[in-house]
């Protein structure tokens, strides 16, 4: 039986892993390759690297990070942040990424999803989205969560999957950083509409939250960052808990 994946997310700024808490107060927590090795050994099922480097001059640093990590760690790598074109995606895939996530660029130019899916296959096209409730609608926000696009998430996920997105990475800005649980209502609503895997993101604070995202939110995979980085929770313990509660996970 297919297991549910536990995915640590590493934010990378100019080649170093950092984590923004509620998109603020960034503090440095380490070297990407070392962290990847650590997470592989702790039982992570996959790693997400998000490039948050502001200056486009330094974007190629990320290609080197991906090359280094994929030479040392033999689990799936998803890379996102600042991917704007088919060429950007190709560079990441050639460097050793297995999947590439696109966010703002997909919203600005939905055809990019289709082009990338045709060229590289849907399985490596992840559409990532930052979602926030606004006037009782879940809206898509872009530019690191600063810009309200007024696009309803439920319309967007249908469009994105029709264009060939192979997976959705859904971050709730309402729950992110609060450690009070994932936005399971949002996740469930998306799951009802699409037939591609969904990665839940934003809000994990305790083990039960992961269980709820999988059971109530129907998430296929669950992502967290600071919780793992600051060793507030180990992936091993989390998997043990989930397995005890009847959730299929890959044993380590």
């Amino acid at each position: 039986m297919l297991t549910h994946r536990i995915i640590p997310c590493l934010d990378v700024d100019e080649g170093r892993v950092v984590k923004g808490i509620n998109f603020l107060n960034i503090s440095d927590v380490g070297d990407p390759t070392e962290l990847a090795i650590f997470y592989n050994e702790s039982g992570a099922d996959e790693l997400v690297f998000l490039d948050i480097t502001a200056s486009s001059d330094n974007r190629n640093i990320m290609v080197d990070v991906v090359k280094k990590v994929s030479s040392e760690v033999f689990i799936p790598l998803t890379v996102g942040g600042g991917i704007r074109s088919k060429k950007d995606m190709q560079n990441m895939l050639e460097a050793g990424a297995d999947k590439v996530s696109i966010n703002s660029a997909a919203v600005n130019n939905p055809k990019l999803i289709e082009e990338c899916a045709k060229e590289f296959g849907s399985q490596c096209v992840v559409v990532a989205m930052d979602v926030k409730k606004y006037n009782n609608h879940w809206n898509i926000f872009t530019h690191g969560g600063r810009k309200n696009t007024n696009i309803n998430v439920l319309n967007w996920v249908k469009q994105a999957t029709e264009l060939g997105a192979g997976e959705l990475l859904v971050t709730s800005m309402d729950t992110d950083g609060k450690k009070s649980g994932y936005d399971n209502e949002l996740l469930y609503s998306i799951d009802e509409l699409v037939n591609v895997p969904i990665i839940a993101s934003g809000g994990a604070g305790e083990k039960k939250h992961f269980y709820d995202a999988i059971v109530k939110g129907k998430a296929d995979a669950v992502l967290a960052a600071s919780l793992f980085h600051y060793k507030e929770m180990s992936i091993r313990d989390l998997k043990h808990y989930l397995a005890e509660n009847g959730i299929p996970v890959r044993k380590i």
Binding site: N40, P76, Q123, P197, K251
Partner: protein
Amino acid sequence: MYITIEIYKIDKTLNFRELKIIIIDTGAANVHSVNKAVIKAGADPYISKNKSDLRNSDAVILPGVGSSNSVMKSLNNLNLTEEIKLYARSGKPLLCICVGMQVLFDRSDEGDTNCLGIISGKVKKFSENMMNENGRKMKIPHIGWNKIKIIQKKHNILNDIPNNSYFYFVHSFFCAPKENNNIIATTDYGIEVCAIVGNNNIIGTQFHPEKSGDIGISIYKNFINMVK
């Protein structure tokens, strides 16, 4: 005499780095990751798209990412299609991964593609609206870590690989071999899916050994050990 042969064999397996292992570069695949995984397994592979390299190699790996039609198009453009068929008949080990495994078959529903026809059978798309016994939606693509059920315990590619080991899968199409005795292992995704196909020297894995952690590296080690 017997002892001499034994020593020769041991010596040969210890010198993985002297073997000429070719990873075929179709342009679209994850050649980088496969290369690093084979190095991790102890060999020193070459990445190539040349016919002559293929012909002079001890073992060949055909990685696959993308779609069957793009991989076949690329092999046709590189004039490698006939060369791979010829190589498959040579008896030397051939390992095909994911879409690489799918193009081993006669035909794929993905883009209605004529494939290599090295193993008989075809490649079909998962049907929509599949559920497992717990009512969980079986989504497409099948992405993630899934257990394999070993059918042919004695196959060399499975040396020291326990039943129910987890491997990393990413695919929307699945292989349906015509001959049951070509199925080495399966995985459960609403239906029983062929996870490893084999016919003598030819092996295909639907999962990505290069993305399946230490157990995946063991698959490459076993493959290298198949080089006589």
